[in-house]
Symmetry: C2
């Protein structure tokens, strides 16, 4: 008969066995007592990197960034009580943006629940309905069948987290005291043979069913376009997508987060649609008869509104219903690359000149934007251009929600140089940005950050993690939530205090408190020089005049609205 | 036909009507767009104080502190997406510690849900199973019957939040665009007569049913004690409780959070049990035949373990099953004060000398503690004594979980001077402490804070709110989670990095970043002088040698263990 502490340890070791076999390589933990057996077991697995982070909310966004960049499941561990509840915002983002997280919450045993014992809450339901699966294997036992189960459970949750549709999976782990073995920590049992790692996530099939052909040929008649939303790119897709577009002569609209806007492309690639679709004549003349939709919902609200009502074929191997306009007539849950080949066989090319209209509008916008920015004071568009030029082809940028990703969408066209662009666009929150950035870097992707002042201040715990980065996080300090300056709330009574909410924090002192360098930047030359410094890591605070910036944007849009040269 | 923006505004105005009638006086909001109609409506209600706080997690703990100190429901408002998910830790604490919160989450309308539209998550289930009720009244409409419902819903959720068992209540509010009325903001309709405010929460009855008498007389035979856990005090209870104890000659064990340890008492009041129950002879001789239990589970693990197996009568008007030892034989859901009178009629006094044994042990511990501390270096016990002596009778102290509340329980005996002591003991997390402290102060209770370094750093957003306080938050900086020094994990390999987790932050710079004064304190005289300063508000950082502190505690406990003078 082994003691309870040893029983707990063996139980957790078996669970980790399964998780590691399933591809988990990192355990991000926040300190606690009840979670001790899992920590003791994890320490004895050299395959596992252990990362302690105090604030569970920050730990979870860190794990999210790591999972997003490494494309493998990352495990989180917290102690009992409200601790795992702090994961919820990151779990929601992971569920919506399909990142693999394994959530391990230590808990008190069933006999203490519901009777007022300390730190007992209903942990089993914390992540319903956001986790893909929720498990509670019961308290640790030495029973061989149960140990076999818990090892299999580890492998299973890692597999479920990986996909076909990746996401968060929760295991709640009730553990009885004592939590540490009574005698000296025993050598762990020799690792038993673990099941082979499940194969990497694959799509559910090759090409679509043959019986789809008539349906698709009927739907996709006339002039069409391919719309690539966030997370469209898959290994092997790009060349076959470009081949299809060139063959059919249809434009491919590439969201900045599609994975297709930056890197080798084709002449059919279009990126400036958010601009030229603000022109009424272009909206009318370019209206398509059909859309093929890939990835998630595009960032551009202009595009989305304009597409409403267009018959749509959606290709998504994970069968996600990303269709906010409710226009999808056919959903193909098949391999997108195989679908491209198949569509090439099924469809007739578009009428001559269809693609040329698009290409003309794209070039025209490039020219107008270049001219407009040359005449305008320095603000976000020029800053974005400088920043992106500075980022190496194999490096990344985390762009925050609200204004930064929209401005990047507007101002940064397609280019042949690759860029790994990250954005928590699943739930589109302004939360957890600094922690996510640290997680992405921890996955080995050298990644800059681009955040607004409110985004940074919403994740103060994440500042501590930025110490680990070898490159800076750029903070656009324009005095609060400037997205509201562009919305109908602008100017209502109490606007400054209740919507824009500027914060009066001393970023330089805050950075120092977290052991970070702080660089204050005011203009173009200053920004470029600071980015280029060897010691640029830390916070680059760019103070921007938001009113001037709003004028730059609005005069640009007015100019587009009235432009008569967009149509060929 | 009114426009959608006006329809939204009228809808939210009706809801607020009900909430205000139900006793809500404060709306704590975090900025957002979807929540605009509710903000517009709230601005037009002068009865409502509006508090904008950027980070929803911090906003929720602020509301919790406000609700705890003001004993009235506080409303929270957040925009759609992951924003309200940040409330979860504070909602859990409110559910467990019975504080009234009204959670208002703005949402996108049903037609956008489940189809990949931006910021759409399943908000309706965010707080299951922690909210007492969850509602979704559907999108705003001008239908009079629906408007009548939403006004009634406001009054209802305020009433449910208030009790008999107070707690959090959730309303999810889907709102269609446009969110701002199309024309100039119309004058709001003249407020309709609101239903009268429901009466304050009352207990479910007066004295217990007569048929309980035999059962209770059988249960409570021989030598007993009354155990008052956190939140025992109710208006009018104390004098009748002391009268009962004096009449029966039984000790009343008062948890520091009971509301009964500080303030006028009786000779039957006992506070030093966590100390003398560490002595084996005292544990044996003082063992009772029965317990009457009030309030929630006591802080002292020593007391709780020692009580296990004792037949218990529990008095709780909200019928909470606070009974981690599973010893409750009878639960009376009746008014505790009426129960005291009734018990006085039913029971025979305890044997002579029973209470005297307890009183002797209490006095003996006081003497030993005083002697021990006089000989010991300055650390938490002396600091606590100085701090409590400094706090005015009508003022408060928020004491963090983990070590601070346990040390206060051990070292601070009963006293006739009142003190309002706060501690988030529902889920016993180390989270949200600074924000909770700010909320308590916002309720008009002048309240000091006493936090460990990890507690403070878990709630960095709360630092910003401390600017509003006219008194300091004392931070015991002893280099990480020192509670682990007292647990079996102490000393295992990797202890420092994975359990104790000291943080390397510059508190002085952090304080400056948040516009707070910072005072570093090293010893007794220094601490007393700093507390007494007119400009003491901000952070008082007390650097403590945790190893020295551990020695002070452990030699005290050894001394108690061996003491032979505890028994009369």
């Amino acid at each position: 008969m082994i003691d309870q502490g040893t029983c707990n340890l063996n139980w957790c070791a078996a669970l980790l066995d399964g998780l590691i076999a399933g591809g988990v390589a990192t355990l991000v933990l926040s300190p606690g007592s009840r979670s001790t057996p899992l920590i003791l077991a994890a320490q004895r697995r050299p395959e596992l990197t252990i990362e302690p982070i105090l604030d569970e909310r920050s730990a979870a966004f860190y794990a999210l960034g790591l999972a997003a960049a490494a494309r493998r499941p990352v495990a989180l561990l917290a102690t009992s009580g409200s601790a795992p509840a702090h994961w919820l915002p990151a779990v929601i983002e992971a569920a919506q943006s399909d990142h693999p997280l394994v959530l391990l919450s230590a808990d008190r045993p069933p006999e203490l629940h519901g009777w007022g014992a300390n730190q007992t809450i209903d942990q089993g339901q914390l992540f319903v309905p956001f986790a893909r699966e929720c498990h509670d294997p019961g308290p640790a036992t030495a029973d061989p069948a149960a140990l076999k189960m818990v090892r299999a459970l580890g492998a299973r949750v890692a597999a479920v987290a990986r996909g076909p549709r990746p996401g968060p999976v929760h295991i709640n782990l009730p553990l009885r005291e004592p939590l540490v073995p009574e005698t000296a920590l025993p050598p762990l049992p020799r690792p038993r043979p673990t099941p082979p790692a499940p194969p990497p996530a694959t799509w559910s099939g090759g090409a679509p069913d043959p019986h789809r052909a008539t349906q698709v040929r009927t739907l996709l008649r006339g002039r069409g376009l391919i719309c690539c939303g966030p997370d469209s790119a898959r290994p092997g897709l790009a060349p076959r997508l470009w081949q299809l577009a060139d063959h059919l002569g249809v434009p491919v609209l590439c969201d900045p987060l599609s994975g297709l806007r930056f890197g080798p492309g084709s002449a059919a690639r279009i990126a400036r649609y958010d601009s030229f679709l603000r022109n009424p004549q272009a909206r009318a003349q370019l209206r398509p008869d059909w859309v093929v939709s890939l990835g998630r919902t595009p960032v551009s609200k202009t595009l989305l509104g304009w597409l409403a009502g267009t018959p749509t074929l959606r290709i998504d191997p994970a069968a996600r219903w990303s269709d906010p306009n409710h226009d999808v007539a056919v959903l193909l849950d098949a391999d997108p690359a195989a679908c491209c080949d198949w569509l090439g066989e099924q469809l007739d090319p578009a009428p001559t000149h269809w693609l040329e209209h698009w290409q003309h509008a794209e070039r025209r916008i490039e020219a107008i934007a270049a001219e407009h920015l040359a005449e305008s004071p320095w603000c976000e568009p020029q800053l974005l251009t400088t920043l992106l030029a500075h980022i190496d082809p194999d490096a990344g940028l985390l762009c925050a929600n609200s204004m930064p990703i929209r401005q990047l969408d507007t101002w940064i066209g397609a280019r042949a140089t690759p860029l790994r662009l990250f954005c928590n666009r699943g739930a589109s929150g302004i939360d957890g940005q600094a922690s996510t950035l640290a997680g992405i870097n921890a996955a080995g992707v050298h990644c800059h950050g681009l955040l607004g002042d409110l985004s940074l201040l919403h994740d103060l715990s994440g500042l501590q993690l930025l110490q680990r980065l070898d490159r800076p996080c750029v903070v656009l300090n324009n005095g609060g939530g400037r997205i509201f300056d562009y919305l109908p709330q602008q100017g209502v009574e109490g606007f400054e205090r209740l919507w824009r909410t500027p914060q009066s924090l001393d970023l330089a002192a805050l950075a120092r408190g977290h052991g970070l360098a702080h660089h204050a930047v005011e203009g173009a030359a200053d920004f470029a020089a600071t980015l280029a410094r060897d010691d640029a890591a830390g916070i680059i605070e760019v103070r921007l005049d938001a009113e001037r910036s709003r004028t730059v944007h609005q005069t640009f849009w007015s100019r587009l609205h009235e432009d008569t040269g967009l149509l060929k």
